[in-house]
Amino acid sequence: MLGDFAVLLIAAVLVNNFVLVQFLGLCPFMGVSNKLDTAIGMSAATTFVLTLASVCSFLTYRYLLEPLDLTYLRTLSFILVIAVVVQFTEMVVRKTSPLLHRVLGVYLPLITTNCAVLGVALLNINQAHNFMESLIYGLGAALGFSLVLVLFAAMRERLVVADVPEPFQGAAIGMITAGLASLAFMGFAGLV
């Protein structure tokens, strides 16, 4: 049992990394990775929201949509749940940690539109996860996101001084770096 959860977690963090393998959550990945500190803040926020959203949407699906036979409304209701969770988090963060709030700036509301969040909710349904699995999967997805975000941010701090050719400066070199990282993550294929 515990072993299964571990496998699910490793699969979500490394083998099927949300960002580099599954292409989810790329916008914040590219947008909030210029500074290590910010990336760490964003990671924390996303981990919180992602795990919570994964569980909430599971509950909505299992106890509301399925019984009423309204599964076609899943996108609509998930996004509603997520938007509310995020908005609520945002308000709380703004009150309790203004710097984190300004630093995350546009990105806290954008966590709503971080497809990783809706993605994890939908994938939970697609893969027929139960409650615990949804929780673990959400957590794994978030940890995978956080891991690569933090690594990427540290790397971008280093790239700041690199003598990158003009046209590649900024987003382009970020994309290419992410590509090479994604190439490296292909090595995990088949691990679980």
Binding site: R158, V160, V161, D163
Partner: protein
């Protein structure tokens, strides 16, 4: 034998010390004029106390210390003050600074000195004052006012005095020479110094590549019981005081601290002699022993030089061939700076003037990108990561520079020496350190401005409120008078007061 310890890193550049023939000193010819900068030390400039046209004697104070961290300047010979103006001074910047120019009369007349017969009977304060008045600033290269150093008393006091005869830089043999020729004076000076700070141990530290100096010091040290000569393997930069302390005592000066924090005082042999001369003979610092060396010279060697002698004249006495050199270095090849104007004078910190040929010290190679090979980190005596410091210096990332302890870099140049990419690393660090210091200063400044600005805003508001209150009061008084009641003025004032109090409360 005392146990010695190793330091991290270090390098072994070719020494080339034989060239200047250690152990022999000659007097430098008397120059026609002297140029004496008012700042030859770390700290605030000395203030000239002579005027153009004044006639001065050797040993006469011509500029007085100004502020606590400062030392006076004395005339090294007799002559006339011919200018007090900005001249090129020995400084890495190559900039000019206030100097006093003295045209020598060649008679070399001196003021009389009054030594102390029994310095042991004096108070420490009196001794310190003498050291200060003698214009002594560290002669080992840093030029920090010695009196301040001797006065700084930390918890626990000073237990060990180290006389730093390491002289680990290539080429330089000034200290070697001083130790061979004036070993006895050094030990006397050490005795005085240890008396002043209350040290129980005196370590005379000499690198093992100076056997004659070791012998001379051993002999002289027999006169002082608490003194011991310690030798240790040659390696650059063992002579850095922090490194030396680790080698001798296996202790580290805390980051950002000074040796006194761990009960150690470190002085150059020449400084010790200067202290001795100041107390026993009453003589100020007016001359020093300087190594003049390099293949561009026909006759290199150690000279006893008057402070203020233009470097050009010093070089010329050693047979300088200007065509073969494309730089002249003040100090050693590792830490010295390139001289941009040969008219700049010899000062208290000038332990060496190096005039290499172009082939001897070739011009710097073009800089390549850092390949992060880590050789610099292997060489760094402070266990820093020079390649990261370099990276962040280029990025101007002050946060990371502080995190990577830039300020603990001693600018020894070991990293740049080994760097296969020929990166002028030390210049990056000096620049980054400069801007770090400046940022800190600006921070203080701007915090001050902010509070003053805000105080002023507050004051203006308060004044405006007061004016408003006054106006209201006058108006109320007028009204009251119009209504004609009893003692309307008093009532109006009461009302105004109440209003003002309320307004102040609101603020």
């Amino acid at each position: 034998m005392r146990q010695i310890f190793d330091i991290h890193g270090g390098i072994h550049p070719p020494e080339r010390k034989d060239m200047s023939n250690p152990g022999w000193v000659r007097d430098c010819d008397m120059p026609s004029k002297l140029i004496l900068p008012v700042t030859q030390h770390v700290g605030s400039p000395a203030r000239p106390v002579v005027e153009v046209g004044d006639i001065v004697l050797g040993g006469q104070m011509i500029a007085e210390a100004q502020g606590p961290v400062s030392v006076p300047v004395h005339a090294p010979s007799s002559g006339t003050v011919t200018a007090i103006e900005a001249r090129a001074v020995p400084h890495a910047s190559g900039l000019t600074d206030t100097c006093i120019e003295i045209s020598l009369d060649g008679r070399d007349e001196w003021v009389g000195f009054e030594g102390l017969d029994n310095w042991r009977d004096e108070t420490k304060a009196a001794l310190l004052e003498r050291v200060r008045l003698a214009g002594i600033a560290g002669l080992g290269g840093a030029g920090f006012p010695t009196a301040i150093k001797l006065a700084s008393d930390r918890d626990g006091g000073i237990h060990t005095l180290i006389i730093n005869g390491t002289e680990c830089e290539p080429y330089i043999t000034a200290d070697d020479t001083v130790m061979q020729c004036f070993a006895q004076q050094i030990v006397e000076g050490a005795e005085i110094l240890s008396h002043m700070v209350g040290a129980e141990t005196v370590l005379l530290a000499v690198e093992d590549n100076k056997p004659e100096a070791v012998d001379a010091m051993r002999q002289a040290a027999e006169a002082l019981e608490m003194a011991e000569v310690v030798t240790f393997p040659t390696k650059y930069p063992s002579g850095g005081e922090k490194q030396l302390i680790e080698i001798l005592l296996n202790a580290q000066v805390p980051s950002g601290g000074i040796p006194a924090d761990i009960g150690v005082l470190c002085q150059n042999p020449s400084t010790a002699i200067a202290v001795r001369d100041a107390l026993i003979d009453g003589k100020p610092v007016t001359h020093r022993i300087t190594t003049v060396t390099g293949r561009s010279l026909k006759d290199p060697g150690n000279r006893r030089v008057m402070l203020g002698t233009p470097i050009k004249e010093l070089l010329d006495t050693a047979g300088f061939n200007a065509d073969s050199a494309d730089r002249v270095i003040h100090g050693g090849p590792m830490m010295g700076f390139a001289v941009t104007d040969l008219d700049m004078p010899v000062v208290k910190i000038t332990n060496c003037v190096l005039a290499p040929t172009r082939t001897e010290i070739p011009p710097p190679q073009p800089q390549q990108a850092c390949i992060r090979c880590g050789m610099c980190a292997e060489a760094c005596p402070a266990s820093l990561l020079p390649q990261q410091l370099y990276w962040y210096a280029r990025a101007k990332d002050q946060e990371q520079l502080e995190r990577h302890n830039l300020m603990d870099c001693i600018e020894c140049g070991a990293c740049a020496y080994v760097c296969p990419s020929h990166i002028p690393l030390v210049q990056y660090y000096r620049s980054a350190k400069g801007s770090l210091r400046e940022t800190a200063k600006e921070k203080v400044r701007s915090d001050n401005s902010r509070s003053r600005f805000e105080a002023r805003q507050e004051r203006l508001e308060r004044e405006a409120a007061e004016r408003e209150a006054m106006r209201a009061a006058r108006k109320a008084a007028a009204e009251a008078r119009a209504q004609a009641g009893d003692d309307p003025v008093q009532a109006a004032i009461e009302r105004a007061k109440a209003k003002k109090a309320q307004q102040e409360a609101e603020q």
